[in-house]
């Protein structure tokens, strides 16, 4: 089973990469860009077929390792195949 995890830095925490990309886009003439935020996407391939338990396990993985609870939130999506 394939599960997609999106790690999102909380909006109040700065994203220096995003700030730099906004600057570059504006220099290229894309003046309408107000903000860019970099998230991190992790796609996991798991054994098992129960989407509910897969989601619970992956959420636990996020809490323990994949996300830093101090500055990040996460979103787990079970991808149907």
């Amino acid at each position: 089973m394939r599960v997609k995890v999106e790690i999102v830095r909380r909006p109040e925490i700065a994203d220096p990469q995003g700030v730099t990309v906004v600057r570059a886009l504006r220099e290229l003439g894309f003046g309408e860009v107000a903000e860019a935020r970099f998230n991190r996407t992790i796609v996991l391939e798991l054994d098992g077929t129960d989407p509910l338990s897969a989601r619970a396990r992956v959420e636990e993985m996020c809490r323990r390792l994949l996300a830093n609870p101090v500055i990040e939130d996460f979103d787990v999506q079970v991808l149907e195949k």
Partner: protein, 226 residues
């Protein structure tokens, strides 16, 4: 090198990717400690009075700086030493590991200017209530080398106690934090490298007062007199 029997025994932890352990051990010897380099798989540190997590790229810094290292077996006893009030010092990557482990508040993101900073910076002693700064003077300015890409400290909890503050805040760290202590003052993370400012020939020996504070920490003295 021989040491007096009372020399502080300091564990210097090496994770895969750590690269400042020899500098740290050398500087600790200069201030009279008895450092021992220990591997991250170690499960007890009973014989040590204090511990240093040196700089580098522990576990490749994959995922996030320090994110994998916090699960290394040695972090169990490091946490126990922190809870017991023994001196625990994280330098650069070691600071990032202490934050990921929850032994210090806060986290690190990329420098605000997105450049790897490798130069001397000036820091001011903001608090002398810590194992790193108790022998320094409040307001004292120290010149230390900074060598990091993710040195931009953020602390949504606002509980990190700044003990060293950048004078020009080169990386955007919240509150200008160059070093943070826990409430008790026995766990400290410092982003610049005091161990690389340990001899005048290196451009500065301002790190010595910090390392002398560390090995002369009252917490450590009381441990040894038992």
């Amino acid at each position: 090198m021989t040491h007096p029997a009372s020399a502080a025994r300091v564990a210097v932890v090496v994770f895969p990717g750590t690269n400042c352990e020899l500098d740290a051990a050398h500087a600790l010897e200069l201030v009279g400690a008895k450092p021992e380099i220990v591997w991250h798989r170690r499960t007890e540190l009973d014989e040590f009075d204090g511990v240093v997590l040196p700089g580098g790229f522990a576990h490749g810094d994959y995922l996030r700086t320090g994110a994998i290292a916090r699960f290394s077996p040695v972090m169990g006893p490091v946490g126990e030493m922190a809870a017991a009030g023994k001196p625990v010092l994280g330098i650069c990557n070691g600071f990032q590991i202490l934050c990921e482990a929850g032994l210090l508040p806060g986290a690190f993101i990329a420098n605000s200017g997105l450049s790897f900073i490798c130069r001397f910076v000036e820091v001011e002693v903001a608090s002398t209530s810590s194992i790193l700064t108790h022998r320094a003077t409040a307001g004292q300015v120290l010149r230390l080398p900074l060598n990091s890409y993710e040195g931009n400290y953020v602390d949504p909890s606002l509980t990190g106690r700044v003990v060293l503050r950048y004078r020009d805040n080169p990386n955007g760290a919240q509150g200008g934090a160059a070093a943070i202590a826990n409430e008790a003052g026995n766990v400290v993370g410092v982003m610049p490298h005091p161990e690389r400012a340990s001899e005048a020939t290196l451009g500065s020996d301002d790190g010595m007062i910090l390392l002398r504070s560390f090995i002369g920490a009252p917490q450590l003295e009381s441990t040894r007199s038992r």
